[in-house]
Amino acid sequence: MNTTGHIERDDLVLFAMQLLSKEDAAIVSTHVESCPECLHELAEVQGDLAVYAHTVEMQAPPASARERLLKQVAHEKKVIPIETAAEPALPVRGFGGRSSLTEDDLPPRGFAGRIFPWLGWALAAGMTVTAGSFYMQRAALQGSVAEQKDQIAQLTTDAATAREVMATITDPSALRVTLTKAQTAPVPQARATYVADKGVLIFQANNMPALEPAKVYELWLIPANGSSPIPAGTFQPDQRGYASIMMPPLPKGVQAKAFGVTIENEGGSQTPTLPIIMVGA
């Protein structure tokens, strides 16, 4: 069989036609696997046999054979991987002639036969849509949370700053100095900072003389609409004449015409007692 290191062509022909004995076929098969030259020759012989096979007298198979095959094909439906089905790269039809089949060309299928093959895909599509929806909601929530985190961080920073400002202003140990013209005797001074829309008022006074016992200073907001003055808190100056009122309870939206300070009995009053010792507009 092997006289030149390769399989003789006669034997390759017999091997291709499955006419060798089991032992000889095994030898040829083993050799061909590792011999490109013999493998090429064997492929050529197969090509020759393919041509020769076509010389047979043609006979159409019975019509029932087609129906039988397609029934068997339908019976052995395939489970297609999703990623393969998701990317249809080839035309489904359109080869022309008999290739353009209609539903009538296939064996009739029952309702279940038509529906069940698509149930998996419908379920997969539904899951995909649901997963997509969840993903979008999750992304939106994550964005919202991130935005709120930023806001909270900003507010925290602002609050810390505000607390620091307030602590500095209200700290009784803080050094407070009012600069005036040189060689001028210190005079009582006060500053009111008011935001009408928010009803927020900050009041600071310097060089305020000490009061008699049981007396307090009282701050008044004098509305621009001419209504009665609104009490804005009482205060006692410290030993250095400093006093402050921070955000007393005031109605919002009251436009101020002026602010005034009176001396009242301890506990304060609902109406100012004249005279008004300090005023500013």
Partner: protein, 188 residues
């Protein structure tokens, strides 16, 4: 006698057409499977009928061959050179297996075709088939009969030698010479 070529009302095909259909079959497309059947069932059935001479047995081979495509289309894609030619050979081998009542032989079927003929092209294939029939008809009677006995009847060279009384070497040479003549007719 040799009038038909086994191609059923199909437009000109290309290798890509077969590959595309096989790819669709791989994705479970039953229409593509029906298309392949329409294209190649006749040659598959005819070869099986020539070997088995039994319509029921030939139809079984037809079913077996096409169900093999349905179950394992990737084994048929691209490397076969020509699906139609390869199916004809597979049909012959399956029929011989049936004749011998043995299990299918896989090793030979796994060898890709290398052919000087473009069996995938419809027009070229029709011309090739007509020409091949002419070449076979012109072979010496002993050579033609020996080739038929080997290929279509599945007789071993020993069996042929015993039946014809020819030496084993002569039988082998006749078979090989017949195929060589066929090849030369297309390569000349």
């Amino acid at each position: 006698m040799y009038r038909e070529t086994g191609i059923v009302n199909t437009p000109p095909l290309s290798t890509q057409d077969d590959a595309a259909l096989l790819a669709l079959v791989q994705r479970g497309d039953e229409y593509a499977m029906a298309s392949l059947f329409d294209r190649y069932s006749k040659v598959v059935y005819s070869v099986a009928m020539r070997v088995l001479r039994d319509p029921a047995a030939a139809e079984d081979v037809l079913q077996e061959v096409f169900m093999q495509i349905w179950r394992s289309p990737d084994g048929f894609i691209a490397t076969r050179g020509s699906l139609g030619g390869w199916l004809a050979v597979v049909s012959r081998n399956r029929s011989i297996d049936t004749l011998r009542r043995k299990r299918p032989t896989e090793c030979v079927d796994d060898i890709a075709l290398a052919s000087n003929y473009n069996l995938a092209n419809e027009a070229e294939r029709e011309m090739m088939v007509e020409r091949a029939r002419g070449v076979i008809q012109l072979l010496p009677m002993e050579q033609r009969k020996t080739l038929e006995m080997a290929f279509f009847d599945g007789l071993t060279h020993s069996e042929i030698a015993e039946m014809t009384g020819d030496p084993l070497g002569t039988v082998k040479t006749r078979i090989r010479s017949g195929l060589s003549t066929l090849r030369k007719a297309f390569t000349a």
